[in-house]
Structure formats: C-alpha cells, structure tokens
Amino acid sequence: MDGPFATAISLIATADDALLQIIGLSLRVTLSAVVIACAVGLPLGAALALARFRGRGAVIVLFNALMGLPPVVAGLLVYLLLSRSGPLGSLALLFTPTAMIIAQTVLILPIVVSLTRSVVEDLWAEYREQLTSLGASRLRAVPTLLWDGRVSLLTGVLAGFGRASAEVGAVLIVGGNIAGHTRTMTTAITLETSRGNLGLAVALGIILMALTLTLNAVAWGAGQWAKGRLG
C-alpha cells in the first residue's frame, strides 16, 4: 500500500483541478469569516473592555461561553435562519459559500471579541494615565490600544482561523457539501471517510494541516518581524 503521505504528495504534485478548487473554497470561506469577525470583533471587544454599563459582566460571560458553541449548533441556527422556511429564506443563501462564511463568522466572532476585550483591558490598565494625560478619550484610545496589542491579538485571530478551518459540522449543514460548489477540505474528508477511502481522507487531512501550518508560520514570522522592527 502506498500510504496516505504518498497519496497526499501525488495529489499535490498532479495539482488536481477538483482538489485546487476545494482548497481555494476552504481558504476563501475561512479567511472571509476571519476578516468579517475581526472587522466586527476588534472594535466590539475593545468597546467592551473600555465601556462601563449595566450588564457588562453578563455580556462578557456570554461571549466567553460562546467560544464553546458547538459548530453543529451554530450550523443549525444559521440553517434555520437561511432556510426557505426561515426568516431570511428569501435571500436564497442556503447551500452557498456565503452561508458557510456566515456560519463560520458566528463561530469565530466570540473568540475575537473575548480575546480583544482581555488584551485591551490589560493595556488600558497599564497605559490609562499616560493616554489620558495626552488628552485621549476612551474612544480615541481604542485604535492605539489595538495597535499596541497587535501581537497578542494575532494569536486570537489565528485561534479563530484554526477553529473555522478545522470545523466540519457547521459548513456541512449550511453548505450541503455540493461537489464543485460548497465542498471544502473538511467536508471532503468526511465524504471520503464515509466512502471507505480512508487513505484519500488522511491525505486530504495532511494537506489541510500543511496549509494551516504554513499560514501559522507566516503569521508568526510577521509577528516576529514586527516586534524586531517596531520594538
């Protein structure tokens, strides 16, 4: 037997069109979800760190708890929302990559919000006097604090990326694993496992891990470079 590593290498070497398409879709869905979750989650997390309002503690606990939301539950909620019989059915988004991006955003957002809140809270405690003496209000301090915390925040963003790229429960329900349309690395692995093609399933798993490893190495390298250059 050739073994899954050999299968993985030959799959990459032949640059199979279907495989490239699956990899492309996986990256597109997960990276889009990460970008949206950051666009919403970074300001939201920072606001949660600095603002003082009734029920703030409850909101913080809620976001922390949502980090443990099972992907299949997130998928089911988005499914019921986007189904033709659901409240947003007229948008015709179920079984599309957009639906998968929405589901993964729901999964990542709590991680980004909670981690940003924690990082910004610590920085604010540390630099509060300095920033206020320079005349910065809480609101105006947000971008500075986010920028100062960027290396720590990157870890949170990578955790979000990892959660989204590894999950199968949500994208399977809202995407439907349609060949050439909504089939990602993880749903393809599930499908090949169910067909008894365990070698091919493991090979796809190896490729997915190689991609994740590369992306993390690049992010870490960038973080180190930024640290060295900007102090």
Binding site: V35, P143, W147, G176, N177, T193, S194, G196
Partner: protein, 270 residues
Amino acid sequence: MTHTRRFLLSAASGLALIAALPASAQEFITVASTTSTENSGLFGHILPMFQEETGIEVRVIAQGTGQALETGRRGDADVVFVHARAQEEAFVAEGYGVQRFDVMYNDFVIVGPSDDPAGLANATDAPAAMAAIARTEASFASRGDDSGTHSAEKRLWAAAGIEPVGAWYLSTGSGMGATLNTAAQVPAYALTDRGTWLSFQNRGPLTISFEGDPVLFNPYGIILVNPERHSHVKAEAGQAFIDWIVSDAGQAAIAGYQVGGAQLFFPNAQ
C-alpha cells in the same frame, strides 16, 4: 489618528476582497438526494451528461432519505431523489411534492463477517436472516437515522416479528459509509444498498452474507417540490431534470454506470 485609518483601510480592503469574488451566473437546480446515490458515484457519472445537453447545473446535497424529504418540505431543494416509497408517497399526499416518478432500483444486501457467526448462508429469506442474527445475538450495525435503508431494515425486523434490542444491536445514527466502517471494525452484520457496498473500499472482514430475496428490492423515486407550496422552486428546470432522467437518454446513462464491471442501478421508469 493614523492607526484608525490603517485599521479601517485593512478592514475595508478585506471586505472588498470578499465582495469582488465571482458569483456563478449559470442556471442551476438543487437536488436533495441520498448518500447511496452520491457515494456510489452515480451522480458523478450522469450529471455531466445532463448538463451537456441542457446547460443546467445540478447541485446535489447527499442526505438520508428522511433528511432529504425534510429539505424538500422546507423548500430548500427543487427536486428530491430518494428511496423510501411510503415516505415519498406521504410527501406527495401532503402537498409538498407534485408527483412521484419511478427512476431505477438496486437491491439491499446483508453484509457481515466472512465466518458468518449467525449462519445466514442457511437462511431461506431476508426476515429469516434477520431472525437468525437476533437469535444468535450476533452484532448488527443499524443506520438508525430514518434513512431509506433504515426504513427497509425496520420493515425486515417487523416481517420477522422481532423488536431489535440488546447490546448486539448498534444504532450508529450515521450514513451508510460510516455504518459500514463501524461494521467492519466490530465486526457486525449490516444492511446496505448494493451500490454503496460495491464502491466501498474499507471492507475489512465483511462480505455479502445474504442477498437475492425480492423483499430486498430498493426502488428510487424522483419528485418535483411543489411550486404552489414554495413559489421560488425552479419548476421548469427541475421538471427538465426529471423528464431527462426518465427519458431513454437518462435511463441509458443510469444503466451504463458500472463499478468494477458490475452495474449498480437498474432503470425502471415507465
């Protein structure tokens, strides 16, 4: 505040990247079907022919029959293509489907460990084979998921007059392939459609233990989701697919699909 600008700029460019991604403009229909048709590779064989002829792309979601009919009920598919006759007729009677058409059939087989601990080789018919498994308490892996195969299994137990309970009866609650993976490991008997079995790669010690009883006949039907119930259903394109699959061309395409030299599905449209 250059940081604000930098932050907004990167967020905006990220969103622009997503918006710029191409959307497919081609006409398509969504078909909710079963794991047996998708996993066996049948759709990979016949759908390109249909697309070539009509230009309509068919997007298949492979689910158990129960879930596929639910997808149709909710209006999330244009066509359902499944194999559990009683459930299909109920689907049409309730007004969710327009009309059921015969398409093809294959048959179920009982697979199990090659040493045949329950002695299925001596069984005279399928209910007797199931009774032998229950009597000897040999392990049996059930789909347990309201799929067409699970419905067929429940009919066999009922015909044998047996309520399957006990440590030997494993309800996996998963698809056909996952259930066969489980059966290969235990090892256990399992009821499977022949198509999935023939294209299944991870058989381990499993082999066909019982086959050939006419009650194991497994007919597939195709139904257009009722546009009167869900106005967005692509009735014209969906009906075009149904018309094609019951036509001579579609039936010949089904008959022409082979795995390892064996024909998997037998067309029977009228």
